[in-house]
């Protein structure tokens, strides 16, 4: 514990080097732009900007990339409140009360409340990461292949049980992700598979291409179909409004704490920031004295989803750092970055790459402070970006996506695949298939398969290995509960309903 605090201060020393501070500011600004623009989100924004970090040291690279992520989280709130357009899925719930506030001329208050509660949520999650991640990592160092597979099973089962899309659609997109991940060279036998004789397929499908295509191109296609026109409210934010709003915020401490806890829980289980923000909004509406006023411009309706979304977005990095299992598509992209910079994600990072891990954690603290200052002072500038017409922005985003896809492997075939994934993403979005499980499955497919096959090799093919000791059984049973969660909760409700009618 004491040693960890020492490491953390060492991390701060790394982060406040002028070069890293500059990268941090660049990252936040790029991130807010990414968050504000439709079609560029946290995940594909980080994926597109990943090549910029190839020539940097891993620590500087992760500082810049994670700051893009913080910036994107902040940026989503701007478009939700001023334009009623959620720049990110997790800021949809912010539009419910944020935009009515802006229409009543209280845009400044809404923005200040949103940014501040984002900051609070993130800070809470970072403190949790600082305390919990080293413990989880040291615990996970003892995991064998069966336990590792069980953790993956838990992560993916939670997707099926917790996502709001139909469970069998979640399973289809997840399993297709696994199948796509197996294309190319088999790591264990060195055999080629699923290439059907196409040499372009030898390297398989990189998940970064899938992320850029599904989230970037798919989103542009959706926006073109809907024919969005931006009509925004002007942003008036000044020091007086900021301080006045800050003065009113402490009385919502209970709301904030509850939203932080919801966010952290949903972020660690891979449900992610979007359900966290909706759940937090829903609970706040039910618990609040002014619940009836929700949807008409209630400040609590801004605080609740923003706090939870940021807490979830941040705590999604906990399993990524400690276990090598990303909790969200963006965390998956950061994990992909680790591999490119030559680091092996997983619990060993805490032992072998102390500088890197603690630099990352320190940058979470610093990044959010710097981010809060930047967004509070520069809102009008970022809002102006949204006034650029879509017919100018769309081709530029297309070009940036193409560059991002090309630079992953310097391959123009990848750019073509990006367009294919984009069309796939458009149809998935329209027919309600979730995209996050597909992306995570491509990322983790190799490792999950390796853990699975090694476990079976050890046990001689018996599936009993996954229930062979208390630890692995517990994780597997948690996974099974998560997998059948919707079935369990609905039959529980039915049972209670029957009991009530019988009584």
């Amino acid at each position: 514990m004491i040693e960890d605090i020492g490491n953390l201060f060492h991390g701060f020393a790394v982060v406040v080097q002028p070069y890293n501070l500059v990268l941090m500011v660049i990252g936040i600004v790029l991130g807010v732009i990414v968050g504000v623009l439709p079609g560029l989100g946290g995940a594909n924004g980080v994926a597109i900007l990943l090549p910029l970090t190839f020539s940097m040291s891993p620590t500087s690279a992760i500082i810049m990339l994670s700051c893009i992520y913080w910036g994107a989280l902040f940026g989503g709130a701007i478009t939700s409140i001023l334009f009623n357009i959620p720049g990110e899925p997790w800021s949809v719930a912010t539009t419910f009360d944020g935009h009515p506030m802006a229409q009543q001329g209280k845009a400044g208050e809404a923005l200040t409340a949103a940014f501040t509660s984002s900051f609070v949520g993130a800070l809470f999650a970072v403190i949790m990461i600082t305390l919990v991640a080293p413990l989880v990592a040291s615990f996970a160092l003892r995991f064998g292949p069966a336990e590792i597979f069980a953790v993956y099973f838990l992560a993916f089962a939670s997707f099926v049980g917790l996502s709001k899309e139909p469970p069998f659609k979640t399973i289809v997109s997840m399993m297709l992700g696994f199948a796509l991940g197996t294309v190319g060279l088999d790591q264990m036998t060195g055999q080629l598979r699923l290439t059907f004789g196409f040499t372009e397929m030898l390297n398989g499908f990189d998940f970064l291409i899938a992320v850029i295509g599904l989230f970037g191109i798919g989103e542009i296609l959706l926006t073109m179909e809907e024919g969005l026109s931006f009509k925004g409210k002007a942003a008036h934010i000044n020091a007086k409004v900021v301080f006045q709003t800050w003065a009113t915020l402490p009385k919502y401490w209970l709301l904030s704490l509850r939203s932080c806890l919801i966010g952290c829980w949903m972020g660690i289980s891979p449900a992610g920031a979007t359900p966290a923000s909706f759940m937090s909004y829903g609970i706040a509406k039910r618990m609040s004295k002014r619940g009836n006023n929700f949807g008409k411009g209630e400040i609590e309706g801004v605080i609740a989803p923003e706090t939870a979304a940021h807490a979830a977005g941040t705590s999604a990095l906990l399993p990524m750092i400690a276990l090598g299992v990303p909790g969200s598509p963006t965390a998956a992209v950061l994990l992909g970055g680790l591999l490119i910079w030559g680091l092996q994600p997983g619990p060993l990072l805490f032992v072998e790459q102390k500088d890197f891990v603690w630099g990352l954690i320190a940058s979470m603290y610093m990044g959010n402070i710097v981010g809060l200052l930047i967004v509070l002072t520069c809102v009008p500038v970022f809002a102006a970006i949204l006034r650029i017409p879509f017919s100018v922005i769309a081709p530029i985003i297309l070009v940036l996506c193409a560059i991002g896809a090309y630079t992953v492997h310097n391959s123009t075939f990848d750019v073509l695949m990006m367009v294919v994934f984009g069309i796939l993403g458009y149809f998935m979005k329209k027919t309600n298939y979730p995209m996050a499980p597909l992306v995570l499955a491509i990322v983790l497919g190799d490792k999950a398969e390796e853990a699975f096959r090694q476990s079976l090799l050890g046990s001689g093919g018996s599936l009993g290995i996954f229930f062979s000791n208390p630890l692995v059984s517990t994780i597997m049973i948690l996974g099974l509960i998560a997998l059948f969660w919707s079935v369990i909760s609905s039959s529980w409700a039915k049972l209670r309903g029957q009991a009530a009618t019988a009584a």
């Binding site: 197996t182 879509f390 081709p395 073509l416």
Partner: protein, 167 residues
């Protein structure tokens, strides 16, 4: 996919038909995975499960889940449009130039093809003047050039123009 589906009252393909078509497509991908897995062997080899073991079962789960999704999709009553034809036209009018753009990159290089895409897109969708469109179309690739090639040292594909200029 089932763009050719007959219209159900409104001006556009029905959501149900597109959903059924897309579900079948997903099932097809699962079947492809099974076939590919069978080609490399799905049984038990010298090093434990063979290379096709994992993709075989993921493909199988895809096909089985697709069957359930298909039943759900068929049971859903007809109603609602997937999108109206003009809106779909907009989507296609992005996909086609994007594909041409991507295919042109190996020949023209990233910068020139990007400039053409931006100019054409602005002219067609935004109805901007040629002067403004071309100005943006040149400014963006130049900015990208400085950002990627000069500052962050990431080379992008180059074509005849860059060769002529000596890069």
């Amino acid at each position: 996919m089932s763009h050719s589906a007959k219209e159900a009252g409104g001006a556009g393909p029905s959501h149900r038909k597109v959903e059924i078509g897309f579900t079948l497509f997903m099932g097809f991908l699962g079947a492809v995975s099974i076939v590919g897995a069978l080609q490399v062997g799905i049984g038990w080899g010298a090093e434990g499960p063979k290379a096709g073991f994992f993709p075989f079962y993921t493909g199988l789960i895809v096909v089985l889940s697709t069957a359930i999704n298909l039943i759900n999709a068929i049971r859903t009553p007809e109603g609602g449009l997937f999108a109206e034809w003009p809106a779909l036209g907009q989507v296609v009018s992005v996909i086609v130039p994007a594909t041409i753009y991507v295919l042109a990159i190996p020949f023209l290089g990233m910068y020139v093809s990007s400039a053409i895409l931006i100019a054409a897109f602005m002219k067609h969708f935004g109805r901007y003047s040629w002067l403004f469109s071309i100005a943006i179309a040149i400014a963006v690739p130049v900015a990208i050039f400085f950002m990627f090639e000069i500052w962050f040292l990431v080379p992008l594909p180059k074509g005849p123009l860059e060769n002529y200029l000596g890069y």
